[in-house]
Amino acid sequence: MSATPVAAPEGLRVLRAAFVWGLLLALAVGWLGADFAFSQATLVATYAIAGLGVVIIVGQAGQIVLGQGALVALGAYAQTLLVQAGVAPLLALPLAATVGALGGVLASLPAGRLGGLYFGMSTLAFALIVEEALVRWESLTHGAAGLMVPGFGLAGWQADTPLAQAAVSIVVLLIALALAARLLRSRLGRAWRAVREDEAAADACGIAPGAAKLRAFIVGGSLSALGGSLYAHWIGFISPEQFGLVFSFELLMLAFIGGARRLSGAVWGALVVVAIPQAIAVLRDTLPGDWARSAGLELVLFGAIIVAVVLLRPQGLASGPRSG
């Protein structure tokens, strides 16, 4: 007779996660200083929202996506243009997410004919088309010269301090996580997992794989665009080159390091991608001698950490340690 592990109740898990992340933030504030730590928290939360889109499409629906940066770009540009046109930033957020959802629909169109890596390649082509369109459509996007982005504000209040920006990002992340978690528990979430495990079997059970994939791209696209909207405000300047293939691969890496099968994987992945290089930079300053300042040291250490994570937690940080 074997003992079956009993999952902790939902409320307890949420409390535990809140405690862990709160403690991490408090430690970061104590160690790095308030503004630096809150800036990191802002970008970790923003990248986590964008990464949630990848987790939904890759980790839940099992589709390879190599051009997610394009959906982030659509959100960033939509948000910027809407705010520039006088729409309140808070109201522009859902509109920008809708643009991302439409982008997701377009990106998923080849899924009807292509599968696996071939479909992944089509998303790469989609990203290239979006980037090219952003460069060429100068009357709207200012092309390669880029756009200045107004600050995020609400009824006269401006999120112009690191603390305010972190607060906005974390609140939006929590809402996105809650909505995504609800979706995963729904019939749609089960359909995604069924398609991921065996598309033919899912089809035989009455699940339409095409529709499930399309919805994954709609949800994933809107989440990544939401992340892009906030990214535009916090960076203050957007240009097409920022959302190139490197950015798409960074998001993919984020999902796999954090754990693509779990929503919290996006947050852990964002923590590694955004905050670890900064932690390395701070530790580097404590080392004696000139060699510590040599070019590339941070990249080498970051690479070593990624390798260690992959070896010790092949399913991502959000999953348990390697079980063999």
Partner: protein, 388 residues
């Protein structure tokens, strides 16, 4: 007794003043001035990042060896953003809050510059001489931001005008990198031609990182261009020239200062012989150098184990401007006092052959001019003075 008390009071006031000043001005203590530098040591412009950093380190080391600036040592705090604005913002926060940088110098790459400049200025720190063609680096006027890189638009306007007038070209064309850099150059070339009653005859772009420019060169040849302006960097410059020579097209080409590099003739060899370029700062060739320059090259080699290039000179010159302005500001160093001093100093031409840099209370762009050079016998030779 009274005299003793007065002396004690004076001493206390002096000490309090010192500590108050040190506490008040971020990055300036009784013994040190911290200068922040957000570089690209691992991204697409890393080949510029390392020599710029080394040039600045060399000048700061020299200042420190000579006793520092009013007794304060200079420390360059370097962060690598790798051309990523997210890393740039975090690096700026770190330098503002942890390192307490007094000033930011030579931030590299437009996306990084645009993302970090608000962080730097809101913290009340100086934003000096960033590597970006964006106008926002000096306009609108801000008391703490200064730029000394001649805008592509300005010097390419003058260079195109000079070339077309001197060479009698009638069909000027453009091969440009499809980004903010390429667009700035295009504006300059168009303005220069417009002033001569001409228009840009043909234009064709490429994406950054492209290595095959054969279709673009074929298109320009089909248009029968007689002068091709290149808004390219080193590798694309070589690729464009090599392709033109390969197909037997002996057209004159003029590249911006981004292609004015020793690497262009080192990589291109015979294919780039005769290429025209714009120089905003001459390359430091050891052969034929004046005695001061030869001595500087030797010291650079000894310090870093490599030959300096134009970017090393750039870094050294920027750091030199910082040191000289800090010295002229005096012991009471604040960002505002530094900025007002920079507005009244004139940096005359030196042994590097640099242009003169001058700022004013109304104009925080220190230089607008470049000069023409040509690759002759495997090295760049300057063929004009700075063009007005």
């Amino acid at each position: 007794m009274k005299r003793l008390r007065r002396l004690a009071l004076a001493l206390f006031a002096a000490l309090a003043g010192t500590s108050l000043h040190a506490a008040d001005v971020a990055g300036v203590s009784a013994r040190e001035i911290v200068v922040g530098h957000i570089s690209d040591l691992s991204g697409p412009i890393a080949m510029l990042g390392t020599p710029v950093r080394d040039g600045m380190l060399m000048r700061f080391d020299e200042a420190n060896a000579a006793g520092g600036v009013h007794g304060r040592r200079l420390r360059l705090a370097v962060e690598d953003a790798g051309y990523d604005p997210k890393r740039g913002v975090l690096a700026a926060r770190k330098l503002v809050q942890r390192d307490k940088a007094f000033a930011f110098i030579a931030t590299m790459g437009t996306p990084v510059v645009m993302a970090t400049m608000p962080v730097v200025l809101e913290a009340g720190r100086l934003h000096l001489f960033p590597f970006s063609p964006h106008k926002a680096t000096y306009e609108p006027l801000h008391p703490l931001k200064f730029q000394n890189f001649a805008p592509y638009q300005d010097y390419m306007e003058a260079a195109t005008r000079h070339m077309v007038q001197a060479g009698g070209y009638r069909r000027t064309c453009l091969l440009y990198q499809d980004d903010d850099y390429g667009l700035e150059v295009m504006k300059g070339v168009e303005t220069g031609l417009e002033r001569l009653g001409q228009t840009l005859f043909e234009r064709t772009g490429y994406k950054r990182g492209a290595t095959d420019l054969s279709s673009q060169v074929a298109r320009l040849r089909a248009a029968e261009c007689d002068l091709v302006v290149l808004a390219t960097v080193v590798r694309e410059t070589v690729a464009a020239m090599a392709e033109a020579r390969r197909i037997g097209w002996k057209v004159d080409m003029l590249v911006t200062a981004s292609g004015y590099s020793a690497q262009t003739h080192e990589l291109g060899g015979d294919a780039v012989e005769g290429l025209y370029g714009v120089s905003v700062l001459p390359h430091p060739y050891a052969e034929g150098a004046n005695s001061q320059l030869a001595d500087w090259i030797e010291r650079y080699r000894a310090r870093f184990g490599a030959a300096p290039n134009v970017w090393s000179v750039m870094g050294y010159s920027l750091a030199d401007m910082f040191v000289r302005t800090a010295e002229a500001t005096g012991r009471d160093l604040t960002p505002e006092a530094f900025a007002r001093t920079l507005e009244r100093l004139e940096f005359t031409r030196d042994y590097f052959g640099s242009p003169s840099y001058r700022f004013s209370a109304d104009d925080h762009l220190g230089n607008r001019h470049g000069r023409l050079a040509q690759i002759r016998n495997g090295r760049w030779e300057l063929i004009t003075d700075y063009l007005r």
